[in-house]
C-alpha cells in the first residue's frame, strides 16, 4: 500500500498521542440531589440518559455563546455525557438560555418554550440570564429568564466557564436519572 509520508506521520502521532479530551470530574452531587427533589416535587416524567439541548439567545452580548460553543470542542467533548445540541426547540429537552431577556425577545422565548415538548428543563446561563446582570433596571430588559419562564437551573458567571456550564448540565442529567 502506498501511503504519503505526511499522512503516515499523522496516523502515528494520533496513535501515540493521548486523547485531547479531558477526564471528566465527578458530578456535583449536591446540585444533582436538589435538582432531583425539584423534579420529584413537580412530578416531572423522566427523560432518558441523554439530553437534547437547544440554545436560545435572549439578548446576550455573545460572551456566553463563546463558552457554550467551547463545550462542543474536543477538550470538553459534550457528547461523551449524552448531551447534544439540537437545532429546533421541538427536538429539545433543555432550553439553554443566555442574555438578560430583552423585551424585544420575550415573545420569541415564550414561543420557543411552548414549542418544546414536555417534559422540559430551562437552564439560565450567565449573570444576565440569572437576574439581568449589569443590564438590570434598563428600560429594554426584563431582568432575567425567571421573569418569564420557570427556571430549573441557574448557572452564574460573566460568562460562566465551560467547566461550570458542563457541571450544571451533568447535574441535570444525574438528577434526571435519580428521580
Amino acid at each position: 500500500m502506498n501511503v504519503p509520508g505526511n499522512v503516515l506521520g499523522q496516523i502515528v502521532r494520533t496513535l501515540r498521542g493521548r486523547p485531547a479530551t479531558e477526564l471528566p470530574v465527578p458530578v456535583d452531587g449536591e446540585t444533582a440531589a436538589s435538582l432531583a427533589s425539584r423534579l420529584e416535587a413537580t412530578s416531572r416524567a423522566r427523560l432518558g440518559r441523554s439530553l437534547a439541548i437547544q440554545h436560545i439567545d435572549a439578548g446576550s452580548c455573545g460572551g456566553c455563546e463563546i463558552e457554550i460553543r467551547a463545550l462542543t470542542n474536543v477538550i470538553y467533548n459534550l457528547t461523551q455525557f449524552g448531551l447534544v445540541f439540537v437545532t429546533s426547540p421541538r427536538h429539545a429537552d433543555v432550553l439553554l438560555v443566555t442574555g438578560p431577556l430583552t423585551r424585544n425577545l420575550v415573545e420569541a422565548l415564550e414561543q420557543a418554550w411552548t414549542a418544546t415538548p414536555d417534559p422540559k428543563f430551562v437552564v439560565a446561563v450567565g449573570d444576565c440570564a440569572v437576574d439581568g446582570g449589569v443590564f438590570k433596571g434598563s428600560y429594554a430588559v426584563g431582568g432575567g429568564i425567571g421573569t418569564t419562564l420557570p427556571v430549573d437551573l441557574l448557572i452564574s458567571g460573566c460568562p460562566p466557564t465551560p467547566e461550570r456550564i458542563l457541571a450544571g448540565l451533568r447535574a441535570l442529567l444525574e438528577a434526571n436519572a435519580r428521580s
Binding site: 439567545d57 474536543v74 477538550i75 420569541a108 433596571g137 428600560y139 430588559v141
Partner: protein, 500 residues
C-alpha cells in the same frame, strides 16, 4: 464646496484627538447633498444626543477622521442616507432612541423599537411613557409569481445571535434577503449615562462579547483622550497583547463556523482546540478567559500573572506549529473550492458602506485602524495589511488565516519588548470630549464620549457590524438558499454590537 471642505470650514468644539465641527443646519444640509459627489469621504457612524446629531466620517484622501455635528431643529435634521445608504440604519436608531427625525431619510421604519418598551424615545429629554403600541415590523413588499418567503429567527437552530432574516425566493434561488435586528437591544447607552468611565467600562466590555477587548480599548482611549491622560507604556503593550489574543480566538471561531457550515469536521476540531488554548492562557495570564474588564480607562486592571508572558508565548508557538496544518485543511477540497465565488461583495459596495475588517480588506479596502490612524503599541511594529481583491467567502477566509499568522508575529514582538513599569494611572474627574478607536477581529470600532465632571454626559459606540449586516443582505440575491449558512459564517456576523 465639497462635503469635507464644508465640514472643515465650520467652527469647532473641543474634542480630542480631533476637533468636532459644529455645522449650522443649513451647512449640514449642503454637506449632506455634497456627499454623493465625494466617494472618498466614508461615513462611519451617525448618532445623537438630546439636542444634536453627530457623525464620524473618514476622509480617505487625507487619511484622517472628521467629526461633524448639527443642531436638531423642531425635532428634525437633514438625513445623510440619500448620499450614504449606510446612514439609514443609524437614522432609524436615532429616531427610536432620541426621537429626532431624519428629513428625507431613505428608510423611516422602526428599527430598535419593536413596540415592547415601556416608553418611547428612551434617550430623549422627555420620553413618552403613555405610548401607543408601535406597528409590528414591516418588511419590504414583494410582487411576483411563485415567490416563497422563508422567515428565519430570531431563535436560530445553531448557537447563534438573535436576528431575523426574511428570505424571498423562487425555489432555491434567493430574490431578496432582508434582516431585522434590534432583538438584543439592552439600552446600553442609557445605562452608561451619568456613570464614571470606570463604571461605564463594564458596559463597553459587554457591547459585543467576541470583541470585548477591542471595545474596552476604544472606550478607554476615548476616556483618556477626553481627560488628556496618558496610560503607562506597559499597559498600552498589554492591551495590544490582549487584543491580538482576542483576534486569534475570533478568527479561529469564524474558521470553525465555516468548517461546520460546510460539514467538514476536521476544521472545527482543530480550531476549537487551539481556541481553547488561547482562552485558557488568557484566563491564567489576565484573570479572565475572554479578558473581559481587563482593559480599564487609565490602563489595564492588573499586570500579567507571574510567568504569563512565557505561557502566552508557548501557546503562540503551538499555534504557529499548527497553522500550516490549518491552512492545508482549508486548501484541501472541498472547502476552498466550495467557498470561492460565494457571497461576493464588490469594491464599490465595500467602500460605499465603509466596511472594515476582513470583509472590507478581502474586497480591496485597505483599512486597518492599527495602521492608520494608528494607536497604542502598533506604531512600533509597522507592517503591511494583508489584502485581497476578490471579495468572496474564500478571500475572507484566506485573510483570516493570514491575520492569525500576523497576530502570532505581533504577539512575539510585543512580548519580547514588554516595557517595565506601572499598568494604570488614576483618572481625574474633569470634563472633556474624546474619540477612541481599535481594530477588533471583525473590524474597526469607534467610541465617542463627553464627560461632565467625571461623569458620562453622552456616549456612542460604533461596532463594525453596522456595515457588515447590510453588506450580507446585498450578497444574497441570485444566490442559493443552501449557500446562505456558509456565506453567513464567512461574514462572522453578530447582532449585539449593532443592537446596542
Amino acid at each position: 464646496m465639497s462635503a469635507s471642505a464644508l465640514i472643515r470650514s465650520a467652527a469647532t468644539e473641543p474634542c480630542r484627538p480631533w476637533p468636532r465641527h459644529m455645522l449650522a443646519p443649513s451647512d449640514w444640509t449642503e454637506m449632506a447633498a455634497a456627499l454623493a459627489g465625494e466617494p472618498t469621504l466614508a461615513l462611519l457612524a451617525l448618532w445623537a444626543d438630546t439636542a444634536h446629531v453627530h457623525a464620524i466620517l473618514y476622509d480617505e484622501a487625507a487619511d484622517e477622521p472628521l467629526l461633524a455635528s448639527t443642531r436638531v431643529e423642531a425635532g428634525r435634521y437633514t438625513a445623510l442616507s440619500p448620499g450614504r445608504p449606510l446612514s439609514a440604519w443609524f437614522e432609524c436608531m436615532v429616531q427610536d432612541l432620541w426621537g429626532h427625525t431624519a428629513a428625507d431619510g431613505i428608510d423611516q421604519r422602526p428599527w430598535l423599537d419593536h413596540g415592547h418598551w415601556p416608553q418611547t424615545h428612551p434617550m430623549a429629554l422627555r420620553s413618552d411613557d403613555l405610548r401607543a403600541r408601535s406597528e409590528p415590523a414591516e418588511f419590504l413588499s414583494v410582487a411576483g409569481e411563485d415567490l416563497d418567503q422563508i422567515p428565519l429567527g430570531p431563535v436560530h437552530g445553531d448557537i447563534e445571535p438573535a436576528s431575523h432574516m426574511r428570505l424571498t425566493g423562487v425555489g432555491e434561488t434567493i430574490v431578496r434577503l432582508e434582516t431585522r435586528l434590534g432583538y438584543t437591544h439592552k439600552g446600553t447607552l442609557a445605562l452608561m449615562r451619568g456613570k464614571s468611565p470606570r463604571a461605564a467600562a463594564r458596559f463597553a466590555a459587554r457591547l459585543s462579547g467576541e470583541a470585548t477587548v477591542a471595545h474596552a480599548i476604544a472606550f478607554a482611549q476615548a476616556t483618556e483622550a477626553a481627560l488628556e491622560a496618558e496610560p503607562p507604556l506597559r499597559a498600552v503593550a498589554l492591551r495590544a497583547v490582549m487584543a491580538e489574543l482576542e483576534r486569534i480566538a475570533g478568527h479561529l471561531g469564524a474558521l470553525a463556523a465555516i468548517g461546520e457550515a460546510a460539514g467538514i469536521a476536521a476544521l472545527p476540531m482543530l480550531c476549537g482546540r487551539q481556541r481553547e488554548a488561547v482562552h485558557r492562557v488568557a484566563g491564567l495570564t489576565f484573570g479572565h478567559r475572554l479578558m473581559m474588564d481587563c482593559v480599564v480607562p487609565g490602563g489595564v486592571a492588573a499586570d500579567l500573572a507571574p510567568g504569563g508572558a512565557g505561557a502566552v508565548l508557548r501557546v503562540v508557538a503551538e499555534l504557529a506549529e499548527r497553522l500550516p496544518e490549518l491552512e492545508r485543511r482549508y486548501e484541501r477540497a472541498p472547502l476552498a473550492p466550495r467557498l470561492s465565488g460565494l457571497g461576493v461583495v464588490s469594491a464599490a459596495q465595500v467602500s460605499s458602506l465603509a466596511a472594515g475588517g476582513v470583509i472590507g480588506r478581502a474586497a480591496g479596502r485597505a483599512f486597518d485602524v492599527r495602521r492608520s490612524p494608528g494607536y497604542g503599541a502598533y506604531a512600533s511594529f509597522a507592517r503591511p495589511v494583508p489584502l485581497l481583491a476578490v471579495g468572496d467567502a474564500d478571500a475572507r477566509t484566506r485573510l483570516r488565516l493570514a491575520e492569525i499568522g500576523d497576530s502570532i508575529r505581533l504577539l512575539r514582538n510585543l512580548l519580547d519588548t514588554l516595557p517595565p513599569g506601572a499598568v494604570s494611572i488614576p483618572l481625574s474627574a474633569d470634563s472633556g470630549e474624546g474619540v477612541g478607536f481599535a481594530e477588533s477581529a471583525r473590524g474597526d470600532v469607534w467610541h465617542w464620549l463627553r464627560l461632565d465632571h467625571g461623569q458620562i454626559a453622552s456616549v456612542f459606540m460604533r461596532d463594525p457590524g453596522w456595515a457588515h449586516w447590510p453588506l450580507f443582505e446585498a450578497t444574497a440575491p441570485s444566490g442559493q438558499v443552501a449557500d446562505l449558512p456558509l456565506i453567513q459564517a464567512s461574514f462572522d456576523l453578530a447582532s449585539s454590537g449593532v443592537d446596542l
